[in-house]
Symmetry: C2
């Protein structure tokens, strides 16, 4: 391994925030050496617990995530990672060290997440134990779920033992992202009407814990009853009944209860020996995604974009049929 | 080509609704012979105009799409396709024949789209000139955008000269879907607040036409001003300024104006010679997606799921690093 990369990784693993930011950018943008970097970081990973938090726009996800992060910063981590050094010269501590990935699917072109990112960063500025990173949705190449997983790897290697991933819970992309988490928290709010009803039907199976945020509003009881009713209709295969936690994130209410629910699910996974099983399933999905990307790169390298453009033109003019074209390219690349 | 497939395709191209439904299911589920079917259908395609319609949950997409479909059923098609036969024994007509693909991303597991599908089908039951198909979001394999594009191919071959694709406009998947359309209509509604503000920033570049639905509500003027302001900030590269059409879909108001806006954009594309250019770009993206899938299948066939499971286990146990594993598989498949 390159000595320069090695010293970069040493810095990153020691908790240096600038080395971390640079590593995340490299991975997110597929910059030079991104695969070599991830390879080198992988042996330093596997200690972080990843919590996916999803819910509709306006559910108060950021507020809840920020509150949860601050709470974990006050809690002693029973199993701190080996490289329990301080961050940026701050005194070493035995509390949870938190990384937040805020996935913003609403800004695929403009990268509009940046402003909100900065505002939230300021809020946590005094504590290097909370690192926050916003990711705008990229083009379809690379894939948001894949990139989020890779950024999680970087944060894990950097000694963040708790990683919170927040996404807007609509669309396959977001579901793919939260499925990569160890624990998935689904946030609902009262008074969202029939659309939430639909969304709930779709996310019943991915929720390990339900949160009803803004639960001081009218209709909180109704949302709770609806979740219970859906749970009666479709029990989970693993026997876990997702608890329902009521919060008012803006006032910090219910956040301790949420952390307790996370700990309870965690114990359940360990006791039932399901933690590893879930990780194996996740890796199986990630492997397929990674393989798909690498194979595509091979095919593109074999052909070049110019020849792809020529083929696309002939297909658009109906001189060629795309299904045969693709089969022929694949056969030539892989034989 | 298999004689059985040929007679199936003959039926489908003649407008037989059952042959069409069977073909769509085969393509959607990647059933036996799906690639052969698409290959055989491709020469019969290229005549349909594809309109993507997207907007947040609750914007009234289905209502608007249904109204638009009914309007086109009353309009004479200036360039009907060659096989202008009747549908299901109905008398031949020279009006637009409509296919609707309703992509419902809220039901990835439960397939909850079916009920709404049936209710809408009933509404159009009397007219075989409108064919509607709901698609629930599938697992990440196959890909929703890819499957939607393939279903569009089937509808095109079946003589549907106008294909309306409706999706919820949040998430990369949905954006990928509407980017495959010839014309993209973005629906907004008054009173959705800041989240819509964010969504708008993301979809400014994909909208060819804006619709403000439920425009009899307070705040319609404000939404219009906001769109205009965003258009001032970020003009399109092609010089087209997307018009803003106000509708009240539940009462059918503004639907004729929307159809006129579609026709105006269509003329613009033709006049500027951009129609083919756009299709070439779309095919370039579709080719990449298709290649990615085919290459992945090659790799999977080479390895088998059992060996993938074993590798995933060793990665989850940190005995292997996934980045090296994937490179090695790819190198062995493609050499």
């Amino acid at each position: 391994l390159d000595r320069q990369i090695q010293s970069w990784i040493d810095l990153l693993c020691s908790g240096d925030a600038r080395a971390l930011a640079r590593a995340i950018s490299t991975v997110e943008n597929r910059g030079p050496g991104w695969v070599a970097l991830l390879k080198a970081l992988f042996p330093h990973t596997g200690r972080a617990r990843v919590i996916g938090i999803t819910g509709p726009p306006g559910a108060g996800k950021s507020t809840l995530v920020d509150r949860l992060a601050k709470l974990y910063r006050k809690m002693k981590n029973p199993s701190p990672s080996r490289q329990a050094r301080g961050f940026d010269g701050a005194p070493d501590d035995d509390r949870y060290r938190v990384g937040i990935i805020a996935v913003d699917p609403t800004s695929p072109y403009t990268g509009g997440a940046i402003l909100g990112d900065r505002i939230r960063m300021q809020d946590h500025f005094a504590d290097p134990g909370i690192y926050i990173r916003s990711m705008a949705t990229r083009g379809s190449l690379g894939g948001l779920a894949r990139t989020t997983a890779d950024v999680t790897t970087v944060l894990d290697a950097a000694g963040r033992d708790l990683i919170l991933i927040e996404t807007v819970g609509v669309g396959q992309d977001e579901i793919d992202i939260v499925r990569l988490a160890d624990i998935t928290v689904v946030i609902l709010v009262p008074g969202m009407g029939d659309d939430v009803q639909m969304i709930k039907a779709g996310i019943m199976e991915i929720a390990d814990i339900f949160v009803i945020n803004k639960s001081d509003r009218d209709g909180a009881e109704r949302v709770e009853r609806e979740i219970r009713a859906l749970q009666m209709l479709a029990a989970r295969h693993d026997g876990w009944t997702p608890p329902i936690v009521k919060t008012v994130a803006s006032e910090g209410r219910g956040v301790t209860e949420l952390a307790a629910a996370v700990a309870a699910y965690d114990s359940y996974l360990e006791k039932e020996g399901r933690a590893l099983k879930k990780r194996v399933e996740n890796w199986q999905e990630r492997l397929v995604e990674m393989l798909r990307d690498v194979m595509l790169e091979k095919a593109r390298a074999h052909f070049g974009d110019g020849s792809m453009a020529r083929l696309a033109t002939e297909i658009a003019e109906h001189k060629l049929d795309p299904y045969t074209v693709v089969e022929e390219i694949a056969a030539r690349v892989a034989k």
